[in-house]
């Protein structure tokens, strides 16, 4: 490679912008529309990490990703208001997840309440619509319900535990291309 080519390549990484230490960025640079390549790269990388983790750790991969998701959930939710009311907590959770995941509280038509009691357990059905995990898996042609889904499982459990102070469990009931059904089991 000639010096000229190197200088030309280097030129792409120089600008006249002055960064001061006190500057707080108020906008995302570049504009999010220009981030498509970054997003695709991230999704591909995440998918490959999960695939490799599964190859190396086998079923242990689920435990690793669940733990990572749970930590993330606790971390994010600790700045939010604490409450015991589960419906209010779910509203809070919906705010926390905005932009990455969107969900609705759902019930089969024959149930009268969203909080369902069956066989000695109390649970709420959540239908996850927008989901960055599902998009990542479909981007890479990977099956749903595996270790990457466990991160969301951990994330929701961690956030709910942090907000309500109570133990919770999330069960993946069904995964689909447009939405997934999960059961939030309250303990």
């Amino acid at each position: 490679m000639s010096d000229g080519t190197i200088e030309k390549l280097k030129g792409a990484f120089t600008s006249d912008l002055v960064y001061r230490s006190e500057d707080v960025p108020l906008t995302c640079i570049p504009h999010p529309e220009e981030l498509e390549d970054t997003l695709h790269g991230l999704m591909k990388l995440n998918g490959l990490i999960i695939r490799s983790l599964e190859e190396v750790a086998g079923r242990g991969a689920n435990a690793v990703t669940y733990r990572a998701g749970r930590k993330y959930g606790h971390e994010v939710a600790k700045y939010f208001e604490k409450m015991e009311n589960i419906e209010e907590a779910l509203k809070e959770l919906s705010d926390i997840l905005r932009g990455q995941f969107s969900f609705e509280i759902w019930k089969p038509a024959d149930k009268t309440s969203y909080i369902i009691q069956e066989n000695g357990s109390t649970f709420i059905y959540l239908v996850f619509h927008d989901c960055i995990v599902r998009q990542t898996l479909r981007r890479n042609g990977q099956v749903q319900g595996g270790p990457l889904c466990q991160t969301l499982y951990g994330y929701v459990v961690g956030a709910i535990e942090e907000i309500t102070g109570k133990k919770a469990k999330l069960e993946i009931v069904h995964t689909g291309p447009n939405a997934c059904l999960k059961k939030l089991i309250l303990q």
Partner: protein, 81 residues
């Protein structure tokens, strides 16, 4: 509520939608899939994807975000198609 339409001319009665739906929305009647409980449909579109005859149509489904679609690949495909 989500409205589900089954194209009777296309449905081959394979029953995959009946097996796949977690909310038991479909039933097989006279070798045809019939949405007997459309009120229980949550719009996951698993049946839509699994149907080999592409006989299903859902109206009123919230379309989830699909950032994973590679616009450049789609543009190339459109040129070929």
């Amino acid at each position: 509520m989500i409205e589900i339409r089954v194209d009777e001319n296309s449905c081959n009665g394979c029953g995959l939608c009946v097996k796949d739906c977690p909310m038991h929305v479909y039933e097989l009647r006279e070798s045809l899939s019939v949405p007997v409980h459309p009120e229980n449909c949550m719009g996951c579109l698993s049946c839509h994807e699994i149907c080999p005859a592409q006989a299903l149509e859902h109206k009123g489904v919230y379309p989830s975000k699909r950032h994973y679609i590679d616009i450049r690949v789609c543009e190339m495909l459109n040129r070929v198609i």
